[in-house]
C-alpha cells in the first residue's frame, strides 16, 4: 500500500511518515502543493493525506484539481480549521475524510485505513458477517450462531459500522461521527458504555469474543484466532 503525504511542516511530516512506515505502508512525502500535485498525478497511490494549509495554496485546491482530472484516490484532509463548515467544505472539495489538527496518530491511522478499505466493501451489501455474527440490513435483524440478538437502534448502528470495518480499528470519534453525527469529543467515556452494552449482547454468551478493545486507540470487531 502506498500513501502520499502532502504536508509542509517538516516535523509533522516526519512524525506521520515514521508512524505510517511502522504500520507497514510505503510513504512518499511532498513538502508543497506543486510537488504534491506532480506526485499524485504521476504515481499510483492507494491513499493521500493532505494538509489543508500549504504554502501558497489551499490543500483543497489540490484535491479539486485531482478530482477534475478523474483521480479518485481516497484523500484524508488534515486541517487546523476544525469548524463544522470547514469540514463540509473539505468534503465537498472531494476529500473523503477530515481530521482536525492536532490529532492522535492512532486516530489518523484508523481513519486512513477505513478509507483504504472503502474500495473493497460494496456498500450495497445487505448482509454483513463476522465469524458467526450476522446482520441483515433489510430485515434489521442481528443473529449470532443462528440465535437472534435484540439490539437498540443505536446499538444496531454501532454494530453495523463495526462490521463494515471489521478487522480494523474504529476510534470512539469515528463512532460518534458515524452514529450520532457529533463532531466534538465528549469529556466522558460515553462511547465505552455503549460498546460494553453491545459487547454484553453479542459476546457474553459465547466463548469467542468478537468485539475487542484496542488500548489507546478504539475498538475492533474481528473473529478471534
Amino acid at each position: 500500500m502506498r500513501i502520499l503525504v502532502i504536508e509542509d511542516d517538516r516535523q509533522a511530516a516526519a512524525y506521520l511518515m515514521k508512524g505510517l512506515k511502522e504500520s507497514g505502508y510505503a510513504v512518499d512525502h511532498a513538502p508543497d502543493g506543486a510537488e504534491g500535485l506532480f506526485l499524485a498525478g504521476s504515481e499510483r497511490y492507494d491513499a493521500m493525506v493532505v494538509d489543508r494549509m500549504l504554502p501558497g495554496v489551499d490543500g483543497l485546491e489540490i484535491i479539486k484539481s485531482l478530482r477534475d482530472k478523474g483521480n479518485r484516490t481516497p484523500v484524508l484532509i488534515l486541517s487546523a480549521m476544525g469548524q463544522v463548515d470547514d469540514r463540509v467544505k473539505g468534503l465537498r472539495a472531494g476529500g473523503d475524510d477530515y481530521l482536525t489538527k492536532p490529532y492522535a496518530f492512532s486516530e489518523m491511522l484508523a481513519r486512513l485505513e477505513a478509507l483504504l478499505r472503502r474500495g473493497n466493501v460494496a456498500p450495497a451489501d445487505t448482509k454483513l458477517r463476522v465469524d458467526n455474527l450476522e446482520m441483515d440490513l433489510l430485515a434489521r435483524v442481528v443473529s449470532r450462531g443462528g440465535r437472534r440478538i435484540e439490539l437498540q437502534p443505536r446499538e444496531f448502528q454501532i454494530l453495523q459500522y463495526l462490521m463494515r470495518h471489521q478487522g480494523h480499528v474504529v476510534t470512539r470519534t469515528m463512532l460518534l461521527e458515524a452514529v450520532w453525527d457529533y463532531h466534538f469529543d465528549p469529556q466522558t467515556n460515553v462511547i465505552d458504555v455503549h460498546i460494553s452494552r453491545l459487547r454484553q449482547k453479542i459476546d457474553k454468551d459465547y466463548d469467542q469474543p468478537l468485539l475487542h478493545t484496542v488500548r489507546g486507540a478504539g475498538y475492533c470487531l474481528r473473529a478471534s484466532g
Binding site: R154, W180, Y182, F184, T188, V193, H194
Partner: protein, 481 residues
C-alpha cells in the same frame, strides 16, 4: 462666498426687474383707462366736450403728472398741458405708444422729464395725446435701485460675518474632536468626543464616535479577558507537564518509568488540547459567525440523540434517566453547537448526581418558543450562588474543573447567547434544573429572584457577546500559529 454674492445679486436684480415691469404696466393701464373715458366722452359730446374735459383735466392733473394734448391736423396744439406736439416721427405717424422728453409748465426751463404717452388720431384729422410724466416712476426706480443695492450690501456683509462666525464655530468643534482623537492616539483610552447636547450633526458624529470607542474598549477588554483565561487555564497544565518531565529526568529512570511519564504527558497534552478546543468553540459561538449557517433544526431530534447517547452512561452510574420530549420543536440554529451544549449539560448532570439519583431531559413548546430543561437530583447550586455561577460563565472556574476543561458551562452560555436563548438555573428540589428557553431570550415570566438572575446573565452576556468577534479572530490567529 462668491456664490453667495452672486445669488443675492441675482435675487435682487430679479426683484428690480419685476417691479419695473409692474410699474410700466400700471402706467400703461392708467393711460388706457383714461383713453377709454375720453373716447366715450368724445362720442357723447363731440369735439367741444372733449376740448372742455381736456382743459379741465390738464388744469387739475398737473399734480398727478397727467399729460394731455389735443392738436389739429397740422399738430398745432388746441388744448392740453403740453406746449407742443412731440417732435419724433413716430409721434406723427398715427396711433402708437411713445416715450418722449417734456418740459412741464411748472418746471419751466428745468431739465426735460421722461414721459410716456399714447397718441391716436380722432375723426376729422385731430390728434390726441394722453400720457403720464414718468419722473415719479424714474424717481421710484432710483429709490428702489438704491434700496436694493443697500440690501445687497447688507446681505453680503451679514453673509460674510455669519459665514466667518459659523466656520469659526465649525472649526472650533472639529478641533475639539481632533484634540480628543489625538489624546486617544496618545493612549488615553478614556477620552471621549465632546457632546454639546444640541443634537446637531456634530453631536451625532461625536456620539457615534463615542459609541464606537466604547465598543472598541469592550472588545479590548474581551481580548484581555481571553488572554487571562488562556494564561490561567493553559499555563498551569503546561507547567505540570514540564515539572513532571523534569522530575523524571532528574532520577535514573528505567524504561517503564519513562513510558509512564510519557503516557502522563500525552494525557496532559490531550487535556490541554481539550481546553484549547473548548476555548475555540466558545470564541466561535460568541463571535456570532455560526449564525450565517443557521438552519432549521429539530430540538426534539437533537435532544433524543443526546438522550440515546447518555442514557446508558447514566444508568451505568446508577442514575434514572427521565425524559419527556415533545415533537416538533423547531428552531433556527446550529445543530452541532446545540448538541454540544446539551451534551455538556448532561455530562455535568451525570457527574454531579450521586448514585441512585435521577437526571432528566425535557423538551416542550413554551409560550415564546421551544424549551429544553436538564434536571438532576445532585447537590444543586445554592440560591445565593447561582448568580455567581452564572457570572462566572464567561470566566474559567478552576473549582468546577473536575475531569475535563471546566469550560462546559461557558460553552453552554455562549451557545445560548448565540441562539438568543434564555439560560436559567433553578432549584430542582433537590438538585439543579437548567432551562434553555429558545425563541425569545428569557422572556418568560418568573419569580423575582429568577428574573434578577436572568437580568444579570443577560447583561453579562451582552458584554461578552460584544467581545466575541475579536476574541474569535484572536483565537483564529492563535490556531494558525
Amino acid at each position: 462666498m462668491a456664490l453667495f454674492c452672486v445669488s443675492v445679486s441675482g435675487v435682487l436684480a430679479f426683484v428690480y426687474y419685476t417691479t419695473e415691469q409692474v410699474i410700466v404696466r400700471q402706467t400703461d393701464e392708467t393711460i388706457q383707462a383714461e383713453i377709454l373715458g375720453l373716447t366715450e366722452h368724445y362720442r357723447d359730446e363731440g369735439l367741444t366736450g372733449l376740448l372742455q374735459i381736456i382743459r379741465q383735466r390738464s388744469a387739475g392733473a398737473s399734480g398727478k403728472r397727467g399729460l394731455y394734448l389735443l392738436a389739429d391736423q397740422k399738430f398745432h396744439p388746441l388744448a392740453g398741458n403740453l406746449q407742443h406736439w412731440p417732435d419724433s416721427p413716430v409721434a406723427r405717424s398715427g396711433s402708437a405708444w411713445i416715450d418722449f422728453l417734456v418740459r412741464s409748465e411748472e418746471q419751466g426751463a428745468g431739465a426735460p422729464q421722461v414721459a410716456r404717452a399714447r397718441i391716436f388720431d380722432l375723426p376729422g384729422g385731430f390728434h390726441l395725446l394722453i400720457g403720464r410724466d414718468m419722473t415719479e416712476r424714474g424717481q421710484f426706480q432710483a429709490v428702489m435701485a438704491e434700496a436694493l443695492l443697500g440690501a445687497l450690501g447688507v446681505a453680503i456683509f451679514l453673509g460674510l460675518v455669519g459665514g466667518v462666525l459659523m466656520s469659526r464655530d465649525l472649526l472650533r468643534r472639529l478641533d475639539a474632536i481632533n484634540r480628543s482623537t489625538r489624546a486617544i492616539i496618545r493612549g488615553d483610552m478614556r477620552e471621549r468626543m465632546p457632546v454639546t447636547g444640541s443634537d446637531d450633526e456634530f453631536d451625532q458624529l461625536s456620539t457615534n464616535l463615542n459609541l464606537m470607542l466604547d465598543r472598541i474598549h469592550e472588545l479590548m477588554q474581551g481580548i484581555r479577558q481571553v488572554t487571562d483565561n488562556i494564561a490561567h487555564d493553559l499555563r498551569s497544565p503546561i507547567n505540570r507537564v514540564r515539572s513532571r518531565m523534569e522530575m523524571t529526568l532528574l532520577g535514573q529512570p528505567d524504561v517503564a518509568t519513562c513510558r509512564e511519564a510519557m503516557q502522563d504527558t500525552i494525557d496532559e497534552a490531550d487535556a490541554i488540547l481539550g481546553t484549547f478546543n473548548a476555548l475555540l468553540d466558545i470564541a466561535l459561538a460568541e463571535s456570532g459567525a455560526p449564525r450565517e449557517q443557521f438552519e432549521t433544526i429539530d430540538l426534539a431530534q437533537v435532544a433524543s440523540d443526546a438522550k440515546d447517547l447518555y442514557e446508558p452512561l447514566a444508568e451505568d452510574r446508577g442514575l434514572r434517566f427521565d425524559s419527556e420530549i415533545a415533537s416538533g420543536l423547531e428552531i433556527r440554529g446550529n445543530r452541532h453547537l446545540v448538541s454540544q451544549a446539551l451534551s455538556n449539560l448532561l455530562e455535568n448532570a451525570i457527574k454531579y448526581t450521586p448514585d441512585g439519583g435521577q437526571i432528566g431531559l425535557y423538551g416542550h413548546q413554551g409560550e415564546a418558543g421551544p424549551v429544553l430543561e436538564i434536571a438532576d437530583s445532585g447537590p444543586g447550586i445554592p440560591e445565593g450562588s447561582r448568580d455567581k455561577v452564572l457570572a462566572r460563565f464567561a470566566r474559567l472556574d478552576e473549582s468546577r474543573a473536575t475531569p475535563g476543561s471546566g469550560l462546559g458551562l461557558s460553552l453552554v452560555a455562549a451557545v445560548a447567547r448565540l441562539h438568543e436563548a434564555g439560560l436559567r438555573l433553578e432549584d430542582n428540589e433537590p438538585g439543579l434544573r437548567v432551562i434553555l428557553q429558545f425563541g425569545a431570550a428569557g422572556s418568560t415570566g418568573g419569580k423575582g429572584l429568577e428574573s434578577g438572575t436572568r437580568d444579570e446573565s443577560s447583561a453579562k452576556s451582552e458584554s461578552t457577546r460584544k467581545s466575541g468577534p475579536m476574541a474569535a479572530t484572536f483565537f483564529a490567529q492563535l490556531a494558525a500559529v
